[in-house]
Symmetry: C2
Subunit: 321 residues, 2 copies
């Protein structure tokens, strides 16, 4: 049986868990509890994994640096999810109540700010030359959110608009993980770029698959209700493609444009999207990007870490959770 | 007539304004508008002023560094106000509608995140050795918010609890302004510490006066309605002292403990607080801290900048806006 993609870095990923808790520790009991609540919900930890794989694939000698870097990225990413969930009025994340639902909005805003600052702090402690990369990615995430908001409930959003949104929202941070870790390992520029491109590609594919799971996912696997993006009027690739459908497109547009669609509207729209070729289109698109990602690291010399990168890419393209 | 405290750095403060707008520029039109909306509302710009004065008082040769540093601190501070206003349900700030009222909560959360990241970015560009100082101060601000929340509507909050809260919420960031600017000017440790202590002290005094203005302020001067802290049940020094009053303390406690006091409750409580010695106590306390602040910079050699520090301290102790 093929090994799991994370097999060669299991120990390092366990160290990431410890480091995240340590970094976020606060002497304020409630703030501490809130951080623990979010972090202990788990998550795929793809960002730290990419940091560690990238560092080791580039021959880095002190893996503790990659562990710290990966923890910092995961903290920043998690902080952004806390604020996203408030903005999207999400009630469930990773199978449990979102932070602002379990506690309250104002404390969740502050906790997100705290985590963001701690994430940047942890990043700076690793290497102060790379803080600007992460901070830059963080400000791009905000810009991505704004572009997304511009197109909420708007049927004239194009496929290109969508790629621009997810590039800022998701891909840039993953690209930054791969690049900064390669930089820390003193990799030559060619390798830093190759790994950055890989990160960007799998980030794009990751988000496309995430968006298909909003249509065809199972809450027991994904930990999230389906149809949330549709309710919020968020432009996603399945919706954009389905709105083009000659038979069903018009009806999907109608639901997508409603600011408060009813439950039955949403259920109907999800069913209709499945009848179009939208999901198939998204899967093929994600799959092509995954192939490109694997191609992009061809310059990296063979190793178990490179194998992991390839399996991780495939896992992302095929995941159902 | 005595010169205004900011007289020797008027040109530098104008440069700060330009730099803040430049740093926050986004290609997304609405995000740009939202940043401009907050920043153009003005503000006292005390943090950049302290950076510039501290840098020049320490003999710094390239004032553009202090301008960049000051801009970065002001951006981080302004970002924190955006989120604070959401949390406190404030409707007016600096004489105009708060950002989340003028736009919406979710966009204001993202704008705050964007500004925070940009502020850290600008800080890193100045000197990557000091990013950790500001990020540390930012995480302490969040902790200060949590301690404050712990004591909301709670009559057993002590004067010491209050000082702990405002130390994290306000003083630490101002201390960081003074210290990092002195560090950038290559000042000896003794001067860095002296200026840091000065910053911490005037930060404490600033917040005490701010809290008295919630009781005795005039919306035409302060740009904020009075009584907001009382409505939100925020522990402030005037309230804490007034709750000790043998005649009126009990009634103030009753209003302070209510989670949704009526308008007439609040008006009555404000009137009663004015009858106690609370405001007088706060003014004396602020004044003593201001004296200490001036004492703390006695090691700094005489200059127009040191004179400005002294006038600034006095201005903070006497301000009514």
């Amino acid at each position: 049986m093929a090994k799991a993609w994370f097999e060669p870095i299991t120990k390092e990923l366990a160290a990431v868990e410890e480091e995240i808790f340590r970094e976020l520790h606060s002497s304020n009991a409630e703030l501490n509890d809130m951080c623990n609540y979010v972090v202990s919900a788990g998550g795929k930890r793809i960002r730290p994994a990419i940091c560690i794989l990238s560092y080791l694939a580039c021959g880095g000698k002190d893996v503790s640096k990659a562990i710290s870097l990966g923890s910092a990225f995961e903290i920043v990413h998690t902080a952004s999810l806390v604020h996203d969930d408030i903005n999207d009025k999400s009630e469930i994340r990773r199978g449990r109540r979102t932070l602002h639902k379990e506690f309250c909005v104002s404390k969740a805003i502050v906790t997100g700010d705290y985590m963001m600052a701690k994430g940047f702090r942890a990043m700076g402690a690793t290497s102060n030359q790379i803080v600007d990369v992460i901070v830059d990615a963080a400000s791009r995430m905000s810009e991505g959110e704004f572009i997304q908001k511009e197109f909420e409930h708007s049927f004239d959003v194009t496929e290109d608009d969508y790629y621009k949104i997810i590039h800022g929202k998701t891909a840039m941070l993953i690209e930054a993980c791969a690049k900064t870790a390669a930089f820390l390992a003193d990799a030559p520029e060619e390798m830093i770029d190759a790994l950055g491109n890989y990160g960007e590609s799998i980030g794009m594919a990751f988000q496309i698959i995430d968006d298909t799971l909003d249509v065809i996912g199972d809450v027991n696997n994904t930990g999230k209700r389906v149809g949330l993006d549709l309710i919020e009027g968020k432009p996603t690739l399945p919706t954009i493609i389905a709105m083009r459908d000659p038979t069903y497109g018009q009806r999907i547009k109608e639901v997508f444009m409603r600011t408060e669609p009813s439950e039955s509207d949403v259920r109907e729209a999800l069913d209709i999207i499945k009848k179009t070729d939208a999901i198939d289109y998204c899967r093929k698109k994600a799959s092509a990007i995954i192939d490109k990602a694997i191609q992009q690291i061809s310059v990296i010399k063979d190793s178990v870490y490179k194998d992991s990168f390839i399996s991780l890419a495939k896992f992302i393209g095929e995941r159902d959770r």
